[in-house]
């Protein structure tokens, strides 16, 4: 990966990806929101320095979705409310904590709301000090240009010990990577997750819609294992 200075002004075309350094992150943060190159990270609490040379630390937010078995017996993409019913929403205000039992998972979110520039992608990684407790925060770590929202964290305690999570603690680091071609900021924002401020249940796609697109004519119903048509 190149460490050349990320691009500022002019075209990015033909250049390799490069990781934004502290200075560039800071400079992007100061741009007005009308500038497609602007970066938003809020609240960026500066009492402790959140920056590393090539990344910025993000904190754990206060809202969680905890998986629950009943009333849904399993996460079922054929049921519209399945993903919503399979989680229990919990609020842990700053100062309180959440215990994640061993080998359990929970959805959380960053405290910081971010908006990426049109020419920058992001990747969120578990902070090494957190990872060494065998706590992982991300399984879908890539963030697209122009994304806006708090980042949902798929937190997994893969250790044999229950772990305590305090909202407000630094938990991940965001690495920003300049792209060789910016996204078109005039295009309408797409995606199922525009502007979340807390973890949200997954927007599951119905198998008949996904499979029909690739020419599959039937699928099995997870409740009764019978075959259903994708054309109905």
């Amino acid at each position: 990966m190149s460490v050349t200075t990320p691009l500022d002004g002019g075209s990015n075309h033909g250049l390799v990806h490069s990781v934004l350094s502290r200075n560039t992150i800071d400079e992007r943060r100061r741009r007005p929101i009308t500038d497609p190159k602007s970066l938003v990270i809020t609240p960026l609490l500066l009492r402790t320095d959140p920056y590393d040379y090539d990344s910025i630390d993000l904190r754990l937010g206060s809202y969680f979705l905890i998986p629950q078995s009943p009333p849904a017996p399993f996460l079922d993409p054929t049921e519209a409310n399945s993903s919503r019913l399979s989680h229990l929403k919990v609020h842990k205000p700053l100062g309180t904590y959440l215990v994640i039992p061993a080998h359990q998972t929970v959805l959380g979110a960053t405290l910081e709301f971010i908006k990426l520039p049109h020419d920058v992608s992001g990747q969120i990684l578990t902070k090494s000090s957190v990872a060494r407790t065998f706590l992982l925060i991300e399984t879908a770590p890539w963030v697209h240009p122009l994304y806006r929202g708090c980042l949902t964290l798929e937190i997994a305690n893969v250790s044999n010990t229950p772990q305590v999570l305090y909202p407000g603690f630094h938990i991940g680091q965001l690495i920003l990577v300049a792209n060789d071609k910016p996204a078109d900021e005039t295009e309408p924002l797409s995606g199922a997750y525009v502007g979340p401020i807390e973890p949200e249940s997954p927007a599951l796609k119905h198998p008949k819609d996904v499979l029909r697109e690739i020419g599959i004519t039937r699928y099995r119903n997870p409740h009764f294992s019978d075959w259903l048509s994708t054309r109905e």
Binding site: R29, R30, R31, P32, I33, T34, S38, V40, I41, T42, P43, L44, L45, L46, R47, K89, V90, H91, K92, P93, L94, T96, F113, K115, R148, C150, E187, P188, L189, S190, V194, G195, I197, E198
Partner: protein
């Protein structure tokens, strides 16, 4: 054991079980949810009160005599205890229902912080409880004292925490945002009661009634005069609380008021007040309250006097139009409407109008020196709208300051709230135009993005509270 003692012991046990059941919701409070500090304070007190009551009850039969006189005395005490817990019953479980996910936590914190700017209210806090009612409610602090003080004295418990108020919100609005600006009115009721404002208005209300009712008032007995005066005072209290709320949080209070009571329906297709020659019922006062248009008219007058109006007069919303129309109306139009309707409430409206200068004076005394945040709003409402239009939480704004220097600012909660509510009313189409596959004609799509604007505003209030904490 004598029959009397036996009977008494049964009743003692029954009361013990009753107190256990009533206090169970918060002793201890549910651990699966979180509570605000003020809720926890309330639960701790109830828990303490329950412990003291149960302890007192356990020692009860030792001083219960076998004679009939002693029985009656003991029975009276039991009744006092039971009545007090019956009163508390209506607040305990509804308070436990209002955990941090089921009350507008960030909004309440912002309002309480704002209240702390007023002299004498620096340590006031509020416990939120749910009500089945469509309306918000404030528990009069003196009424709470009347319930708790005798109980606490009998069972040797601490007095009810000073400076802790109780406010009820409709249970449907637990996680809403903007409509909960109406909480400012309830805070006004608390301030009204705490400052004994009614006493400052009573004589003026009676004098105004005497002037407008003449002998119909002056020849009546004290009881009737007092009842009539009370009506004017009830009217005046509502106006006080409305004006207090506008002073405390600005135009967003009026927007919430207009929304809750669906007042844009007062406007005809042409945007004019749909009164015409006939008297519409909405403009007439209610038995205990001035009419909604009257109240909004008084609010719009204050918004104009404070300078808010110049900043919102061009907004693209029927809420703004309604404020404008009511601003043009004369208070005497409400008197004429009452007279034309032929009811008996015209003198009350006239008396209220006479008393209003004193009401304003009282509001001014309590809110004296508070910064309305008008200047900040003038600088930041457009940037905040721009952030929201782009789907971004407006807690850190990059703007050009008056000297055109780029600068990073964090709005105060009051500015964030007012600017965001304004955007909520007039900007949702602009936001939706930025999002793929959204239909502005679809109520479902619109409602989803309106909810998003509320959530971004909530997040902004949470963020700016953090900024303030780290800056202090």
């Amino acid at each position: 054991m004598s029959p009397l003692r036996d009977q008494l012991q049964r009743e003692v046990a029954s009361l013990y079980a009753f107190v256990q059941n009533v206090s169970r919701a918060c002793t201890p409070p549910p651990q699966s949810v979180s509570y605000s500090e003020s809720s926890s304070k309330f639960f701790e007190y109830i828990s303490h009160l329950a412990d003291c009551t149960k302890q007192h009850i356990l020692g009860f039969d030792s001083h219960a005599d076998d004679d009939a006189e002693g029985f009656i005395e003991a029975r009276t005490e039991l009744l006092t205890l039971r009545n007090a817990w019956r009163e508390l019953h209506q607040f305990i479980k509804p308070s436990a229902d209002a955990d941090t996910l089921n009350q507008p936590t960030a909004m309440v914190a912002a309002l309480v912080d704002r209240l702390h700017e007023l002299p004498g209210f620096e340590s006031t806090d509020f416990t939120i409880f749910h009500t089945d009612s469509f309306y918000y409610a404030q528990v009069n602090p003196s009424a709470m004292e009347v319930v708790v003080t005798p109980l606490a004295r009998i069972v040797d418990a601490h007095p009810f925490p000073t400076n802790l108020g109780l406010i009820g919100i409709p249970n449907s609005q637990g996680n809403a945002m903007f409509l909960n600006c109406l909480l400012a009115h309830e805070i006004g009721e608390y301030a009204y009661a705490k400052r004994g404002t009614e006493a400052h208005l009573e004589m003026a209300a009676a004098a105004a009634l005497e002037e407008h009712m003449g002998a119909t008032f002056s020849t009546k007995g004290v009881t009737v005069q007092s009842r009539l005066t009370k009506t004017v005072l009830k009217f005046a209290k509502e106006i006080f609380c409305d004006l207090f709320a506008v002073r405390l949080i600005g135009h967003c209070y009026s927007f919430a008021y207009i929304e809750l009571f669906d007042l844009p329906n007062l406007l005809g297709k042409d945007g004019a007040l749909a009164v015409g020659d006939s008297v519409e019922p909405q403009i007439l006062s209610y038995p205990d309250y001035p009419s909604h248009p009257f109240r909004v008219k008084v609010q719009s007058d204050l918004l104009k006097a404070e300078g808010w109006w110049d900043l919102i007069k061009d907004m693209d919303s029927r809420h703004g139009t309604l404020l404008r129309v009511l601003l043009d109306l004369d208070l005497q139009d409400f008197v004429k409407a009452e007279e034309a309707a032929g009811g008996n409430r015209a003198p009350f409206v006239k008396a209220l109008i006479d008393v209003m200068p004193r009401v304003k004076e009282q509001v001014g005394n309590i809110t004296n020196g508070i910064d309305s945040r008008l200047y900040e709003y003038g600088l930041l409402w457009k940037p905040i709208a721009e952030y929201l239009r782009n789907g971004i939480v407006p807690s850190t704004l990059n703007i050009l300051d008056p000297a055109s220097t780029p600068t990073e600012v964090h709005p105060t909660p009051i500015t964030a709230l007012n600017a965001a509510y304004r955007f909520y009313l007039e900007g949702v189409e602009a936001l939706m135009s930025r999002i793929k596959d959204q239909n502005v004609s679809s109520a479902q799509d619109r409602a989803a993005w309106m909810k998003r604007i509320e959530s971004w505003t909530t997040k902004a209030l949470e963020d700016v509270a953090l900024f303030r904490g780290t800056e202090s």
